[in-house]
Amino acid sequence: MWAWFHKWSSPRWFYQLSGTLLPWLAVISLAALIVGVAWGLMFVPPDYKQGNSFRIIYIHVPAAAVAMAGYLLMATAGAISLIWRIKLADMVLKCAAPIGAALTFLALVTGAIWGKPTWGTWWVWDARITSVLVLFFLYIGIIALYEAFDNKEAAGRASAILALVGAVNIPIIYWSVEWWYSLHQPASISFTGESSIHPQMLRPLLLTITGFYCFFGWVLLLKVRNEILHRERSTRWVRDLILSR
């Protein structure tokens, strides 16, 4: 088990393994996204209260979910990097941060677009949106810290510590923002009660969520493979690889 773990975490093995995984992720994510979005936009009946504007959830909800999961993945990679000093985990952390930040940004933008017809304004200090905004800030912090170091070894470990600190704080932040929102608007109407979502609306949503997860994995693998080639550029196997092309 341990030997397997080490073998798998070596950049070279990961490069080869991820190469076989890439096309599958690409196909699944594209298929799920196309089918899910088309289904959600064209075949699901409009919401009785929000009309057609609710359809943005097919982008908004998966983006927010994957952005959150991306942070947890980053913190996990950070923990692995700190405990076992595995270079690959450093690379995963570094590569996941901009993708996660982009998805968080997408969730914020789609949330704003959704807010315009729903609340009549682009921005509302709603508990969820505020939490996603703070998540965006946390991503920015990780990217800024990583970029500030000249020494990439130290950059990886420093970002790993920050990601772990952030992961410990995220539940507190989410909970405090919920509490803050309930304090200032005790009788607000909740729009995003997923529990009450109609099954007809839910099925395409599950598809796009799957699509977003696979898309995240796909882009992450592409970036990590790129990073591997860059960092291992002086090794023999990378040279052989390039020469064989």
Binding site: V134, A144, A158, V165, I173, S176, W180
Partner: protein, 226 residues
């Protein structure tokens, strides 16, 4: 190893001595607190009703920024003069030295800030029934903020450019303390019970005092190991 209590005393005494010999570093965050609070009436207008409503939030946000500013150089001089090197090489656990360092820092930054706050509350027309909650929330809150900011300071100590980067790392993590702290004061001003947010702040203070030194210690090692 001799008596840990003596070691603790020597370490704490040294941190306080170093700061006390450079008084301006203690006074500067306090003046920052004072000046920025004085800017708000200039920007918002002097209407007492408006200021009174905003005072809890203003005081809390400015105190938070003052803690951030005061923490920027927390480890920098130790890093520059080589004392941090000796701390890292010491058989005394880095957890303990970090804890002592931040506690001493709080005693000379967060605590004076807290004690100064009633004066500024009066200037911002905050109703006096909010003062006890203000004192309690800032005392606990600045402790939490100091420990969070110290993590950021430890992560950035080896970098030429700290300042703005530190605020990017640390400000998002300040959110819960700000929410509970300002809410405690607001509720007290409105004559409501503010024990719930204060209790939450207290719980956070205990958690951060115990856990943050681990992250600080790790960050200091990383900052030095390059």
């Amino acid at each position: 190893m001799s008596d840990p209590r003596i070691i603790w005393n020597v370490l704490l005494r040294r941190e306080l001595l170093v700061s006390l010999r450079r008084r301006s570093e203690i006074a500067n965050p306090l003046f920052f607190f004072l000046i920025v609070c004085a800017l708000f009436p200039l920007g918002l207008g002097p209407s007492p009703a408006l200021l009174a409503g905003m005072a809890p939030g203003i005081l809390w946000i400015v105190a938070l920024l003052a803690v951030l500013m005061a923490s920027d150089g927390l480890f920098r001089s130790d890093y520059d003069d080589g004392t941090l090197e000796q701390v890292l090489l010491s058989p005394v656990p880095l957890y303990v030295t970090s804890l002592v360092k931040v506690l001493a820092h709080w005693l000379l930054s967060g605590l004076p800030l807290t004690l100064l706050s009633p004066l500024l509350a009066m200037m911002l027309q905050m109703p006096p029934q909010g003062i006890p909650a203000l004192l309690a929330s800032l005392a606990l809150g600045t402790l939490v903020l100091s420990f969070i900011a110290a993590i950021g300071a430890a992560l950035t100590v080896g970098l030429k450019r700290g300042g703005v980067l530190l605020s990017l790392l640390v400000l998002p993590l300040f959110v819960p303390a700000l929410i509970f702290g300002s809410a405690a004061v607001q509720r007290a001003v409105l004559g409501m019970d503010s024990s719930a947010p204060l209790a939450l702040l207290g719980a956070m203070a205990i958690m951060f005092v115990l856990v943050a030194p681990l992250a600080i210690a790790g960050a200091l090692r990383v900052s030095h190991d390059q």
